[in-house]
């Protein structure tokens, strides 16, 4: 690996830019064009039921959006969903990763089984949970509850958001497990031995060596998962359809309803812009959090 000399002439850099151009261009078209169109529609008076009544609407869509209580419900649901799913998947993923990092008989099979939910498509996940597990009549959960003499719970109507959280967490815990497990396996054994000789107990070993080692990996897991959780749609579509009422309507589902049930392209474009803003706020918080962590780390 010979790095190019630091004083590489501009002549040598020029082709780099030209070679990068196609991919940058592609990315621009792929991202900027849809974003610009969404932004454009959000300022248009555009309802598919009244295709003739087009025109500039100013901030009307945004006014309608911010005064719509369902939008605020959807926003709250989105945040709740992301936060709880993150908490559950990261904690459960870390616990499972620690478990699967130990040696035991049949570990290979157990690992494969533990990771398998990740390969199930979101819609299928929704259907599996709706019919096989949560169904109050012939679902597995209700069978278990009945067999210990309890009244079965109407999961999807009594605890709709919790049900959705369970489905998404079930699907995504393997992802956290997989990434955290690779992180654990890259931890040098001699560091653990050194810390044991230094007098650390199991908890201190975890707190001072394992957790800092996983820092970067945890960041990757949280970053990727929050992006995916923000856009959860299929699980909700296949099970609760955003209900009962607005109990499980998150932002993506709200946008879907606006576009394909009210046919209001203007309003749902405005909501989409809201979702973009929300995603960016998340990203900023995460980057701040990570930067803060890195600084704190270097001060130690």
């Amino acid at each position: 690996m010979s790095a190019p000399p630091a004083n590489a002439s501009p002549k040598r850099r020029a082709p780099t830019k030209r070679l990068m151009a196609p991919s940058v261009l592609f990315l621009l078209v792929w991202m900027i064009v849809p974003l610009a169109m969404t932004l454009y529609y959000s300022f248009q008076d555009y309802n598919l039921m009244m295709p003739d009544m087009r025109g500039f609407a100013g901030g009307l869509s945004y006014e309608l959006l911010f005064t719509d209580p369902v939008f605020w419900d959807a926003l709250l649901n989105t945040l709740l969903l992301v936060a709880t799913c993150l908490l559950v998947t990261v904690v459960a993923g870390l616990a499972l990763a620690l478990l699967f990092n130990r040696t035991f008989v049949g570990r290979g099979i157990a690992r494969t089984l533990a990771i398998s939910p990740f390969f199930v498509m979101p819609v299928v996940t929704g259907l599996i949970w709706k019919y096989m597990l949560l169904d109050p009549v012939y679902g597995l959960f209700s069978w278990v509850m009945r067999s210990v003499g309890l009244e079965p719970v109407q999961w999807l109507s009594s605890y709709p958001l919790l049900s959705v959280v369970m489905m998404i967490s079930w699907e995504w815990t393997p992802f956290a497990l997989l990434i955290l497990l690779t992180g654990l396996q890259s931890l040098p054994e001699d560091q653990l031995e050194a810390v044991r000789l230094d007098g650390a107990n199991r908890w201190q070993e975890f707190r001072h060596i394992v957790l800092p080692h996983l820092g970067q990996v945890l960041y990757v897991v949280i970053m990727l998962e929050s992006i995916f959780f923000l856009t959860s749609f299929a699980e909700i579509y296949a099970t609760t359809s955003g209900g009962p009422g607005t109990a499980t309507t998150n932002l993506p589902y709200y946008i879907y309803l606006g576009a394909f049930f009210q046919y209001d392209i203007g309003l749902s474009s405005a909501a989409a812009i809201g979702a973009v803003v929300l995603a960016n706020i998340f990203a900023i918080f995460l980057i701040r959090f990570v930067a803060g962590n890195l600084n704190a780390g270097s001060q130690r």
Partner: protein, 383 residues
Amino acid sequence: MAIVELKGVAKRYDSAPGRKGNDHANAVEDFNLTTKDGEFVVLVGPSGCGKSTTMRMIAGLEHNTAGEIRINGKDVSNVEPRDRDIAMVFQSYALYPHMSVYHNMAFALELKKTPKDEVKQRVQEAARILDIEHLLDRKPRALSGGQRQRVALGRALVRQPQVFLMDEPLSNLDARLRVEMRAEITRLHRRLGVTTFYVTHDQTEAMTMGQRIVVMRDGRIQQIDTPYNLYERPVNRFVAGFIGTPSMNFLQADRQGDTLKGEGFSCPLNPRQQAALEGGGQRSRCWLGIRPEHLHQVEESGGRGRLEGVIEVIEPLGPVTMAQVRAGETLITAQLAAHLDVRIGDVLTLAFDPDHVHLFDIESDRTLGLEAYPATSSAQATA
């Protein structure tokens, strides 16, 4: 300060499939050693001889499957590593990458809830001894290999443990730094007087640093002795060949009266050697061992041992020149004077003093007549 006793210590790995090193059912067998207080003991041997395993058993990182390990009389075989009050320097240094040098060194003390002032004072003190005061704020990744090595030593030092363990701590350094750190560790040990175990595969390191050296092979102790005694009175052919560079030459010899003869050489036997060959039944054959530094180029050997062969390789080292000489089937290394006028292909006549010759049993490889060798007091050797 501590006396470490190992009594019949053994390590047996279950031959689980896929497990490393399961072709050796016993990694260490019947290890017996009692250190003096503050002694510097070196464990040396070729790779896979069980020296590291022995050290890891003392540390508690491996469980001894038999025998007892006592520190100051207390059996620690079932004591957790963290309660043994032992500090270890790892070959890879095993510094904590996310902590500064200061925190790396202070970590063990902080776990023990040592008062902040004392921690600071002890870390500063260790940093001063090792000359790394200016590095305390850095992260390990911003250090060079030699600096990391010092931090790893410092981390062990601040703990003021009963026993130091060092597992090939110098093997990742370049040759010059290694010689420097060798002297530094020896100085440190003299200053602190903590009982130290040092593992290495490098016999030069072992000879220069150890007060006593344990030579191991295939999980078994071959000899425990002072550096001087290991060189002068090796108990068997393995130790004789392992200690000293270049290695001792071995020749198969037939006894003819009071002379040993073989391809290209002959050696008169002194009375001590004759007695050794006759002890435990008559021997007509044995191994003759002679070190390269005891071979001299001569025209006439005159009553001394004599060896003749064709030069195959010449390696000028500066102060001396090494020559590889073929005598019959065997390749002999001889240490010659620096500016010798010899060429590859020349026939070389070498002479040696019969008193420098070591004799080994042809089958068991044991040294013959060891008890009759001039004994050196260990006090003289360690001084």
